[in-house]
C-alpha cells in the first residue's frame, strides 16, 4: 500500500535520512532520500513509500495543487451548480 498523503520535510538527519511530518499532525517519520532524483529542502513535500522518498515537490507546487483542488470545489458554491 502506498502512503498517499504527501509528507513535509522538517529536518535533515544523518546518512541521507530526513524527518518528515505527516499531514497537519504531530506524526513524524524518517525517510531515506537515496532514491530522490533531486535534493530536497526543508518544507518540501515528499511521496514516501516503504521508508524511501520517491518524489519531491516544492512547497509552492504543493500549495498550488491544493488550491487548484480548492477552486474546483469552490466552483460548486460560486456557481451553485454541479458543473466543473
Amino acid at each position: 500500500m502506498c502512503l498517499a498523503i504527501p509528507v513535509q520535510v522538517v529536518e535533515f538527519l544523518e546518512e541521507g535520512m530526513v524527518r518528515v511530518r505527516v499531514g497537519e499532525s504531530q506524526t513524524f517519520l524518517t525517510a531515506s532520500t537515496m532514491l530522490l532524483p533531486v535534493p530536497s529542502k526543508i518544507g518540501d513535500f515528499l511521496i514516501v513509500h516503504a521508508g524511501f522518498a520517491l518524489h519531491v515537490l516544492t512547497e509552492e507546487e504543493a500549495m498550488s495543487s491544493l488550491s487548484a483542488l480548492r477552486e474546483i470545489a469552490d466552483a460548486l458554491n460560486a456557481k451553485g451548480t454541479l458543473d466543473a
Binding site: 498523503i5 499531514g23 513524524f28
Partner: protein, 335 residues
C-alpha cells in the same frame, strides 16, 4: 535489597512475604488486603453484581499515556462499569519473570495503586507467581473486578433497539496506535498517547442523567468495528454510522495512513459505546462531555432494523460501505 526478582519471591516462603509486604501491601494499602487470608472477605457487595476478568499482556510495559499497571485497573473497572455497576473491589494476579527489575515492578504497582485510587476501587486479594526467565515476557497481570449493579434494567449487548442512538465517548484508536508506535524498531514519532482511563464515574453520571441505557460496551481489542458488530449480532439489529461524526485524532489518522491501518479497528482503553433511546441521547452526551474522559463524546449513528446484523458506514464523501468484523489482528499493509 536485590535489584532484580528471584524465583524465591514466588515460593510462598519468606522471600514471598517480603515482596508482598514491601511492594503490594505497601502500595495497595487497605485493611481487607492486609488480612492475607486465602480469600478476601467482602461485606458490602449486594446482588445483582457484575464480575469481569481480564489479563494484561501489553508490550511495552510503559507507553505514552499509561502502563500495564494503569491498564490493568482501568480495563477491569471499565468492564464492570459496562453492566451499570459500581466497581468496588479488584483482585490482582501477577505473573512475573525471574530477573524483572524490582524498581520497574514497584513503579507499575504504584501505577495500579494510583489508578485504583482514582477509580475508587480497592485491591483486596492477590496472587504472585514468579516463572523462570524466558517463561513469560517480563510481566502479565490479571485483574478481576466486582461491583454492585445499580442500573435497572441492566445494560447488555443484547439490548440495542431499532431507533436507538449510538454514542461514543471520545476519539478512537489512540491506545492501539500508541502501542504500535511504542514498539522498538518503528521509525515513527507521534504525539499520540493511550486513552487508558477509568470510566466508572462518567458512566454513573450518564445513567444518572439519561436513565438506564440499552447498551454499554468498551471498544477494546478489535476496536469500534468489532464491538459494534458484536452488539449487532447479539441484539439482532443493524447500525448505520456517519464516518464524519466518528471522532479520530489527526495523529491517529496520519499514523494509520502510514501503517496501512484503520483507526476503527484499533483498541481503545478509555472509551465506551453507549446505545440508548434517541430522546435521551443528548442528556447522555452532555453527561459524557462533563467528564474529563468524555469531552469529545459524539453521536456516531443509529440502530436500524435490517435483520442482516450489519454495520454500515456513511463515508465522508457520502458513499456507503460495510464496517465489517475483523478476522484477526490488524496487520500493516505496505507493498
Amino acid at each position: 535489597m536485590d535489584t532484580c526478582l528471584l524465583l524465591d519471591a514466588g515460593s510462598g516462603g519468606l522471600a514471598s512475604q517480603r515482596l508482598t509486604a514491601q511492594c503490594f501491601l505497601r502500595h495497595f494499602a487497605n485493611p481487607l488486603l492486609a488480612r492475607l487470608d486465602d480469600a478476601a472477605l467482602l461485606r458490602d457487595v449486594h446482588a445483582p453484581i457484575a464480575v469481569s476478568t481480564d489479563s494484561y499482556t501489553v508490550t511495552p510495559l510503559l507507553f505514552p499515556g499509561g502502563s500495564i499497571g494503569t491498564l490493568a485497573v482501568h480495563g477491569t473497572v471499565n468492564d464492570v462499569s459496562m453492566l451499570g455497576a459500581r466497581p468496588q473491589y479488584i483482585s490482582c494476579g501477577f505473573i512475573l519473570e525471574e530477573g524483572l527489575s524490582l524498581e520497574l515492578l514497584e513503579s507499575l504497582v504504584q501505577d495500579m495503586a494510583g489508578a485504583a485510587k482514582e477509580a475508587g476501587v480497592l485491591i483486596v486479594t492477590g496472587d504472585t507467581k514468579v516463572v523462570p526467565r524466558g517463561a513469560c515476557d517480563k510481566m502479565f497481570i490479571n485483574t478481576t473486578g466486582i461491583g454492585s449493579i445499580f442500573a435497572d434494567p441492566t445494560p447488555s449487548g443484547h439490548n440495542a433497539r431499532v431507533g436507538d442512538a449510538v454514542l461514543v465517548s471520545g476519539a478512537l484508536g489512540d491506545h492501539g496506535l500508541t502501542i504500535m508506535g511504542s514498539r522498538e524498531h518503528l521509525s515513527f514519532l507521534s504525539d499520540v498517547t493511550s486513552d487508558s482511563a477509568p470510566l466508572n464515574h462518567m458512566i454513573a453520571e450518564v445513567i444518572n442523567a439519561a436513565g438506564p441505557v440499552h447498551v454499554l460496551r468498551d471498544p477494546t481489542r478489535g476496536g469500534l468495528a468489532a464491538t459494534l458488530n458484536e452488539i449487532s449480532e447479539q441484539s439482532g439489529v443493524s447500525m448505520l454510522l456517519e464516518e464524519e461524526a466518528i471522532p479520530v485524532h489527526e495523529s491517529v489518522k496520519s499514523g494509520c495512513s502510514f501503517l496501512g491501518l484503520d483507526p476503527l479497528y484499533l483498541a481503545n482503553e478509555g472509551k465506551c459505546i453507549c446505545i440508548l433511546p434517541e430522546n435521551r441521547a443528548e442528556d447522555a452526551l452532555a453527561a459524557m462531555r462533563a467528564s474529563p474522559y468524555g469531552v469529545e463524546a459524539a453521536r456516531i449513528g443509529t440502530v436500524v432494523g435490517d435483520k442482516a446484523c450489519r454495520v454500515t458506514l456513511q463515508t465522508r464523501i457520502g458513499g456507503r460501505r460495510i464496517l465489517s468484523m475483523p478476522e484477526g489482528v490488524p496487520l500493516p499493509r505496505i507493498c
